[in-house]
């Protein structure tokens, strides 16, 4: 098994095919979308492939150390940065192909007009552990 991160972006990914902001959908379309997402996570739990799922608020700040005794230096909220992560799902699957397949399912979640969003998701493999048997 190998773990993959399915990463969803507020900003930074190429535009979806069905790119309409959620507040322009109908309430029924929102319900259908939420149901799809819940069902997807439940199905992954049932297959033993679900690890974790989290969502992030769009607010964020860059921060760095500025030397002994100095307060942290912050930068942001970063309206101008290109990349803004919205959330992720971690899956543990047999193959890379399976990871892509699941990401596609997630990307097919219904949006405006009840049609799939075709959202771009980023699939990133986790580093695994070194094998015990090496020769």
């Amino acid at each position: 098994m190998a773990k993959y991160l399915l990463l969803k972006h507020y900003r930074g990914a190429p535009a979806s095919v069905n790119d309409v902001p959620m507040d322009q959908w109908t309430p029924e379309e929102i319900s259908a979308h939420v149901r799809y997402m819940n069902d997807f996570a439940a199905r992954l739990e049932a297959t033993g492939e679900f690890v974790d799922s989290q969502a992030l608020s769009p607010e964020g700040t860059f921060v760095r150390y500025d030397g002994e005794g100095r307060p942290p230096v912050t930068d942001g909220p970063f309206a101008e940065t290109k990349d803004l992560i919205a959330g992720w799902m971690v899956i543990d699957v047999e193959t890379y192909e399976r990871a892509l397949e699941l990401a596609c399912e997630l990307s097919a979640a219904p949006g405006a007009g009840g049609k799939p969003i075709h959202e771009w998701l980023e699939v990133r493999p986790f580093y695994g552990v070194p094998p015990t048997v090496t020769e």
Binding site: P21, M22, D23, Q24, W25, T26, P27, E29, I30, S31, V34, R35, N38, A55, S57, P58, E59
Partner: protein, 381 residues
């Protein structure tokens, strides 16, 4: 005996060990071990005297630990054999434990964790699950908390207000995983109310009961939030409401108003309305005035603006809102609501969408997005 009943014995047994001379941290560990043992053994071999069994086993575990520690340090074993028979159980042991676990030297998160374990009898694993952190993290939080209060004398009375804040925090966490924290908070507050005659303890208990009564109506089938005005009031638990109102009335009769009684009074007025339109908003505004006077809290002022909007119309609500800091959490959502009531769906839709972006949790974000979507759909047609 089910696990919940077993857990109610926790503070009593800790108290007995402490009076026999164990320090709080060691006593708490020993009782936790005894509880784990009880869960394992009791189903097949239930004891006739559960409390006596727990005291005996916990005391033995405590002695084992002391002996192990002592021999490790090559010192003479000082605690020997049969326990000194403790004095008859003091009624206020449990109460002292509440004070200790909510000690002002603890951070809120530590006080919550320690209270759930030492007073509530939950295991570290259950507490960790409820707060969605790894078990090792929660174990560290609890043992640090125990070190922090290790110098506190077990016999000194504490401040009820700090205990109430901790219980309120537990209640507000709701429930996730297999531990229902809201129900646990009610259980602990009920127990506290039985130990101490205090109007704000009663106020908090009433507040919890009245809010808990609405829980079946608060979320829809797909987990979405259902606002108070749209809830199916037939789903409200009338038994809990009746109890909450009784507890509140007894507290208010003492004529020593506090913030929890005022909040409970507001909840009771909502519970009293058969339909949302029948809500007595004028009285609710009166209680918010009291709450603002008692707490000077910006959150109370924000909620008061909503109530004013219902009692005196959306313009009055917007006027009440105007004096408040726009950076307050949920300020934009309240503004959106009042603008919609004022017949300005365009502004309301924009504000709902803006509020959704700064929502503090996903269900609220979804709810606010849905409100924006509803108005935008109306505006399109």
């Amino acid at each position: 005996m089910d696990e919940a009943v077993l857990r109610t014995l926790t503070p009593t047994v800790i108290g007995i060990l402490v009076r026999r001379g164990a320090d709080f941290a060691a006593a708490e560990d020993a009782v936790q071990d005894a509880l784990v043992e009880a869960v394992r053994v009791w189903p097949d071999d239930p004891p006739r005297d559960p409390k006596g069994w727990l005291v005996t086993v916990a005391w033995r575990k405590f002695l084992d630990t002391v002996r192990a520690d002592t021999s490790r340090r090559h010192r003479e074993v000082r605690v020997e054999g049969e326990p000194v028979p403790g004095p008859a159980e003091a009624v206020d042991d449990t109460l002292q434990l509440y004070f200790l676990c909510a000690h002002p030297s603890l951070t809120p998160a530590s006080a919550v964790a320690l209270t759930l374990r030492a007073v509530g009898g939950l295991t570290t694993r259950q507490i960790a699950q409820a707060y969605l952190v790894p078990e090792a993290t929660m174990a560290q939080r609890i043992s640090r908390a125990k070190r922090t209060v290790s110098g506190v004398r077990f016999t000194r009375p504490g401040d009820v207000a700090t205990v109430l804040r901790v219980l309120y925090l537990v209640f507000n966490e709701g429930y996730s995983g297999d531990v229902d924290l809201a129900a646990e908070a009610i259980r602990l507050t009920r127990r506290l109310a039985a130990e101490i005659d205090h109007e704000e303890v009663a106020g908090l208990l009433a507040l919890m009961l009245l809010h808990h009564a609405r829980r079946p109506a608060r979320t829809g089938p797909d987990g979405r939030l259902v606002p108070l005005a749209e809830q199916d009031r037939g789903l409200w638990d009338t038994r809990l409401i009746a109890e909450g109102v009784d507890v509140l009335q007894a507290a208010l009769a003492r004529d020593r108003l506090g913030e929890f009684q005022a909040q409970a009074a507001i909840a009771a007025l909502h519970a009293d309305a058969q339909a949302a339109e029948e809500t007595d908003w004028v009285q609710i505004v009166g209680w918010y005035d009291e709450l603002v006077r008692l707490t000077d809290s910006p959150v109370a002022r924000l909620n008061r603006a909503v109530a004013v909007g219902e009692a005196d119309g959306p313009r009055a609500g917007l006027a009440a809102l105007a004096g408040l800091d726009p950076a307050l959490p949920r300020h934009t959502a309240v503004a959106a609501y009042l603008h919609e009531r004022d017949g300005d769906p365009t502004t309301a839709a924009r504000l709902y969408a803006e509020a959704a972006r700064s929502a503090p949790n996903l269900p609220e974000r979804e709810h606010l997005t849905r409100q924006a979507a509803r108005l935008n759909a109306q505006l399109r047609s």
